[in-house]
């Protein structure tokens, strides 16, 4: 076959396809190297640490101990068997539960609210550009700043929210929103939803603007009422964009750290996987133990994302839907 085609033997006789792949490789190489240095290497190190007894003041002196940080079976001299390690640590499972609860509730609320905001912004009205810019403000404020800001607003003594709720007669006495176990999660959720809804709205808006206008006009002529148009036409058409938006948010939510660290430090009601593993890594001098928890966090994320992509048939390649 090849002999019959007088190939122009340049570039070592590579075919056009091979040349293209070679060029693509060189363009991608810097990115791959950067990704390896900032993502793959730390990740591999963490996994390695989790299998050793490394401590914070002796990072390179760790010895291999296998899976003892995850689960270790101890048989005491009197014959009782005891399990140790992060997999049987109630604090860890509390954190996992907190994280999941936080992620699901916040992402669901943000998606619904974001979609509503996006639908409003997608309508044509005067000053739409201004409103679009304004709605992004919560997203633009650094989390630390907005967390501190809300911490003050939620403050039990001086907080404006307590003051307003009290004056309106909604509550009978001041509530320590962030310190009370019952309300801490709500406080965190509220701030996160406030902050991230604009981001969701913007992603939804981008999806909405992909829907051609004349499809709506065809629906108008078909005489389909707006609610049905939303559920039968708009929603199916923006579903791919929505699924990608949700997974981005979900990944973010499962790793939540900064907001909780600032707003409700040391509250068992809101402690998440990231918070607890940092605690172990840095504060409790259980570096390897914390590494094990970080590794588990990564594993949970990976499983979750795979399931989501598989079950939701999410198209991350951007090729479908054409």
């Amino acid at each position: 076959m090849t002999a019959s085609k007088p190939a122009i033997a340049r570039d070592g006789g590579l075919s056009l396809q091979q040349q293209r792949q070679k060029a693509a490789f060189w363009f991608l190489a810097p990115m791959l190297i950067a990704l390896f240095c900032v993502a793959a290497w730390p990740l591999l190190r963490t996994v390695w640490f989790s299998l050793t007894d490394t401590s914070l003041n002796n990072l390179y002196g760790g010895k291999w101990i296998g899976f003892d940080n995850y689960l270790r079976v101890q048989t005491l001299s009197n014959g009782t068997v005891r399990y140790k390690g992060t997999l049987v640590d109630p604090a860890w499972w509390n954190a996992v539960w907190n994280t999941l609860r936080f992620s699901v509730v916040s992402v669901v609320c943000e998606t619904v609210l974001g979609l509503i905001v996006a639908l409003v912004l997608n309508a044509e009205f005067k000053g739409r550009g201004l409103v679009r810019a304004a709605i992004l403000i919560p997203w633009a404020i650094p989390t630390i700043v907005s967390a501190k800001m809300w911490a003050w607003m939620l403050n039990d003594q001086y907080g404006i929210l307590n003051d307003m709720a009290l004056n309106l007669g909604l509550i009978s006495s001041k509530i320590a929103w962030t310190a009370t176990t019952d309300t801490a999660m709500y406080a965190v959720l509220m701030v996160d939803i406030w902050k991230t809804t604009p981001f969701m709205a913007l992603l939804c808006l981008a999806g909405l603007q992909m829907v051609p206008r004349d499809i709506y006009e065809a629906a108008k002529i078909d005489g389909i009422n707006p609610v049905k148009v939303f559920f039968k036409i708009t929603l199916p058409l923006i579903r791919p964009a929505l699924m990608v938006a949700v997974i981005f948010r979900m990944l973010d939510a499962l790793r939540i750290f900064d907001l909780i660290y600032v707003l409700t430090p040391n509250s068992a009601a809101t402690k998440t996987m990231s918070v607890i593993s940092r605690e172990n890594l840095i504060e409790f001098d259980k570096f390897a133990y914390g590494s094990a928890q970080s590794t588990l966090l990564f594993a949970i994320l990976a499983v979750f994302v795979s399931l989501y992509i598989w079950l939701g048939k999410v198209d991350l390649s951007g090729e479908g839907g054409k």
Binding site: P212, D214, I215, E217, A218, K220, I221, D222, G223, I224, N225, K228, K232, I233, P236, L237, G321, K322
Partner: protein, 333 residues
């Protein structure tokens, strides 16, 4: 099924007047074509009739009933869009049945109607496919099928063929003509900027220019008795030849118009000039003859050509085929 009357209909977007007062009656069962150059307001006028846009002033009547404030879905219209506007996530069947389904039609009636329409358009083997799995021509037929299923009083088409290639355009044009014959009591309004489509499909043509009606009439009327230079130049292919200056003054007008097929090559004719270019279309030849006017005269010659580029020929218009226009572009008759 509907007689449509437009009475001094105007439309403006903010300060921009797009439709500047149109009076037009479209008879029941008529095939009316709107033509005009790009941006003259054809689509806008169609959308006003459909109800997708609200008219700014004037009246619109369907069968003598004022429909100014009637919703598109209540007007008994169906529309075929230039971009097809199919629902991308629904199968061909669902696309066609969607309106009926949500109107809670009985499943049997719905199925019957959809299948009938699909048969008529020869898309009954495609019913399970998604729009993205269809060719352009098939998509357009699905869009037409969806319109048929609505069983409308008025069919509206906005440049339905402009996304198709030349061969498919001719074929689909034929199908639309057949459709018009098989649904002879349905009024059809068709927008195009292609005057061949207009001439071949229309019962009557409305030529629009800059938001106003320039002339309304049958294709033959427009071709033979254009009411202005604009219509004379717009209808017909190749474009009518226009002569000015002394050529026109000889005939007592400002502009003299003559169609290419109305010029004979003779000896000792009215005009002489050199052939600067020739186009051979097989059945016809078009000679471009430089007679000293602004542009060369285009002359149609049937059959085999005995002349070649560079030859000097003498030309004469056929009797009674000269169009004379005054300085306002109006015909002198």
């Amino acid at each position: 099924m509907a007689k449509i009357e437009l009475k001094n209909v105007k439309k403006s977007y903010g300060a921009v007047d797009v439709i500047k007062g149109i009076d037009l009656t479209i008879e029941k069962g008529e095939f009316m074509v709107f033509v005009g150059p790009s941006g003259c307001g054809k689509s806008t006028l169609l959308r006003l009739i459909s109800g997708l846009e609200e008219i700014s002033s004037g009246d619109m009547l369907f069968d003598s009933e004022r429909v100014n404030n009637v919703l598109p879905s209540q007007r008994g219209i169906a529309m075929v869009f230039q971009s097809y506007a199919l629902y991308p996530h629904m199968s061909v069947y669902d696309n066609m049945a969607f309106g009926m389904k949500l109107a809670k039609a009985s499943p049997e009636a719905m199925k019957k109607r959809v299948l009938e329409a699909a048969k008529l358009l020869q898309i009954d083997h495609l019913l399970e496919r998604l729009p993205k799995q269809l060719s352009g021509g098939q998509r357009q037929r699905v869009a037409i099928g969806r319109a048929i299923v609505r069983d409308p009083r008025v069919f509206l088409f906005d440049e339905p063929l402009s996304n198709l290639d030349a061969a498919l355009r001719v074929q689909t044009r034929l199908e639309i003509a057949k459709l018009h014959h098989s649904m002879s009591d349905v009024t059809m309004i068709y927008v195009t900027h292609d005057q061949v489509e207009a001439m071949t499909l229309a019962d009557r043509i409305a030529v629009l220019r800059d938001g106003r009606l320039e002339q309304v009439g049958t294709p033959a009327e427009l071709y033979e008795r254009p009411n202005s230079i604009f219509v004379a130049g717009f209808i017909g292919s190749p474009k009518m030849n226009f002569l000015t200056g002394k050529f026109a003054a000889d005939h007592g007008c400002t502009t003299l118009g003559i169609r290419s097929e109305h010029i004979d090559v003779v000896t000792g004719g009215m005009w002489t000039g050199q052939i600067v270019h020739a186009e051979d279309l097989g059945s016809d030849n078009y000679l471009f003859v430089e007679v000293g006017s602004d542009e060369p005269l285009i002359v149609r010659q049937e059959g085999k050509l005995t002349m070649k580029v560079g030859d000097t020929v003498s030309l004469s218009p056929k009797d009674g085929q000269l169009h004379r226009f005054d300085q306002n572009g109006k015909p002198i008759r």
